[in-house]
Point group: C3
Chain length 364, copies 3
Amino acid sequence: METSRSVTYLKNAWYVAALSSEVGAEGLFARKLLNTPVLIYRLKNGSPVALLDRCPHRFVPLSMGLREGDDVVCKYHGLKFDCSGACNHNPHGNGHIPRAARVRTFPLVERYGFLWIWPGDAPADEAKLPDVSPLTEGHPNGVGFTYMHRKTYYELITDNVMDLSHVDHLHGEIISTRGQLTPQVPQVKETDSTVATRWEWKQTPPIFILNQFLPEPMAEARHFVEVKFMAPTTVQLQIGATQDDSALDLAHCVGQYDLHTTTPESDGTTHYFFATRRNHLVDDADYNAAKIKGMHDAFVDEDGPYVDAQYVNIGNADLLSLNPVLLSSDVGAVRARRILRSVIADEVQRAQADAADTRSAARV
Amino acid sequence: METSRSVTYLKNAWYVAALSSEVGAEGLFARKLLNTPVLIYRLKNGSPVALLDRCPHRFVPLSMGLREGDDVVCKYHGLKFDCSGACNHNPHGNGHIPRAARVRTFPLVERYGFLWIWPGDAPADEAKLPDVSPLTEGHPNGVGFTYMHRKTYYELITDNVMDLSHVDHLHGEIISTRGQLTPQVPQVKETDSTVATRWEWKQTPPIFILNQFLPEPMAEARHFVEVKFMAPTTVQLQIGATQDDSALDLAHCVGQYDLHTTTPESDGTTHYFFATRRNHLVDDADYNAAKIKGMHDAFVDEDGPYVDAQYVNIGNADLLSLNPVLLSSDVGAVRARRILRSVIADEVQRAQADAADTRSAARV
Amino acid sequence: METSRSVTYLKNAWYVAALSSEVGAEGLFARKLLNTPVLIYRLKNGSPVALLDRCPHRFVPLSMGLREGDDVVCKYHGLKFDCSGACNHNPHGNGHIPRAARVRTFPLVERYGFLWIWPGDAPADEAKLPDVSPLTEGHPNGVGFTYMHRKTYYELITDNVMDLSHVDHLHGEIISTRGQLTPQVPQVKETDSTVATRWEWKQTPPIFILNQFLPEPMAEARHFVEVKFMAPTTVQLQIGATQDDSALDLAHCVGQYDLHTTTPESDGTTHYFFATRRNHLVDDADYNAAKIKGMHDAFVDEDGPYVDAQYVNIGNADLLSLNPVLLSSDVGAVRARRILRSVIADEVQRAQADAADTRSAARV
């Protein structure tokens, strides 16, 4: 029976709020994340902070206010808040600061070229930050970052990356495996909060994003691609090719490491963040700019219309309740959906247990 | 008491899905009909087919895919479907075709210059296709077709055509009866699924869309107009004038045969299809083009704003529950609404009876 | 606990429907007020009338029809209505006028440069019209009027005017009190349906909208500002400055009298009407035009984005249920909200009592 999809998000988890480069030294940056308005800005020492973007007095966005050193002044009536969310100046009446004059803050960590936010009430746990360290290891011209806004549901973007067989159908020659990928049942590795799928194959000529960096651009090469989902919304992708006997990994192949991660904006719109690090031509700034532009455009022009149209056709139904045909390539995407459901169910259950404990304690 | 209008559509009936001319030999044509995405295309032999526009794998529109002979390939992951909706190629894994890899099809008939679709589950019954054969009898330059999209509810368009007295008020001189039509109580002929209303009158000069084709363009002529509603959404209109003693019908008068038919797109938007066949100047292609353009523009510029504004004012209330004033001219429109309700109620009741039978049978 | 805001409007009260200048001698003026489509036009003698903008026949807006003397003809089917809402011509059938062929009218009074409408069912009570007579006392070049449409909830506009301390923060130098206003707890005067708050202060130089009209433009002056809320949606504001010992009122100071009044259009959009009368340079038409334009632009460019953004952040929650921080300057706005709630609650209770009486009477 058709059921509605859950719009319960995992709250106690890290989501990308912004690219590091989106939040400058001076400004007030506003973005809605998980249906919540968030203000992000950098202290004078460069550290970024995140506050609820809503003055507790009249609820206007603080992002429409002013910076004053490390503080933010609400432009409507002049309440000033420090970066801990505490009001430290009230120009009204006798200047007394009401206890309620406090803005919620969110844990925010800058790492790997992104600002990661923790929207939940549980203590933020940095150990849960996805390890995407390969992004920031290497020459700065060897990595590019981009941001896209999509009118679709975030799980459909995860699906798209987890099921890589679409590269043979949706995209053009440049990343085609010439049909090598689709017939394979990928290898799967799964944990409680991650699932990785891996394909290996040979093709002649090698995949066009890599072949020019191989010794014999038009000769056969061995390839691998591996995608790994890390709940709730991050997928890392490694792809490489070699023409010798090396191991099929990025230490030994010509290849790249991509990061796809999404953050729900509202129930039907999604922030999509992407980064790519390559291990060849790593100091070429022009190539780097062209590479990230090309990948950005491919998502916007090729994947984007499909994930948006899926959402139109699926609406708010739960995808799996519609009994979709499952193909061998879907194993990663389906397991990723199950993991996400499971971690959300755990979080909901834990919240209910905590509430029950609180009630028991109150009765004692 | 104000009640909401029904958004239950008659399902086991023919609706126009498209003009024949809208669906070319090569392309994939997409249109939402009764809230359902539909793909229409022509086989190599020219026959049109209709499928649910939703791949059963990941639910992207098949209309965003590719033609391959008489088949359609989903561009997202390469599943191929024949025109019966069966998957006949799965490039994934071992190529096994899952039983669920099947797309719903819809009966589709091309007749009278339109593609007619049957959205219901009961067997399609060609005998129920409205007979609008006069459209296709005669010189090809004597008939024109057009399509309009309206932000209104389909019954309001039916009302507009069924109550012809509006021609004396809403439209300009060109189709005015100079007040002859409005005072008349039309003659009515009704069956279970149709109602026709007819007006006859004299006017001097004759109606301007016809007078130039009469022997004495500025002298008195006898006129008739007859509209016939055929449930659920089709209205044929015949209008003619004569200056001799002939019978008042299109065999003997200078006149034209118009077809108005609508198909709900969503609950508040409607596809409006129109065609007109005349019995004069039938081989003049330039006149034909100007004629259909003129009628198209009249609907868009004159009727359109009124039927749209009605919908804004009525919203989702049931029109009759708002106790509208009923005028003598409304008889056809009101009976058409009652017939439509009655056939919808019959269909709903039949579906419930079938469901009960199925449950009884299961218990035996 | 967060609760939804009431979308019950006070019905038996005067609201501004339009500026007098918006409704010309000839045309049919349409505006949605309190979710109701309203037609306003002027009789040949200039008196304005208000009718439900919905023909009782097919519910098209009468404002899409035609004037015929003091009557309005529905353009769809020609029913004609006089200014009392009675149908006085039916061109259909035998011309009999159905009893139901009647359009609801609304009491409408033209006063103080506005057209005031009474949307409720109780008899309109002119004594309840807010007295804003200072607007129309004096030279015609000493007063200006303007209209703005806002995507926000009307109470947020009332709040904005009632809490004047925002002038020191939101607006520019031209109306800054240089921080004199914000620290003050205003004086309050309250009745059942009004609340006034008043601030008095000294500043050097005087406020820039007035200083050029004082004897010594850069020397200290005594100032006052007083805002008075009159339920449901009107706020008058008086501001003045003097450099002698005169009383702090508009009879003795250089100053101006402003009127802010709103009318809900739909539940999330508001008509905002504003007028300003000054007691200096009263015959200067150019200054007058520049003054009203400047104030209009200040609302649109400065206040407008904040009251709209508040609405985005608050949504349909009741503001007070969100436990906003209350500052000393909020006293007027908070009391105005309580008065509005109280008069709405009274009206709802009275309506329920009347309904109970009617039921008892029916049983006797």
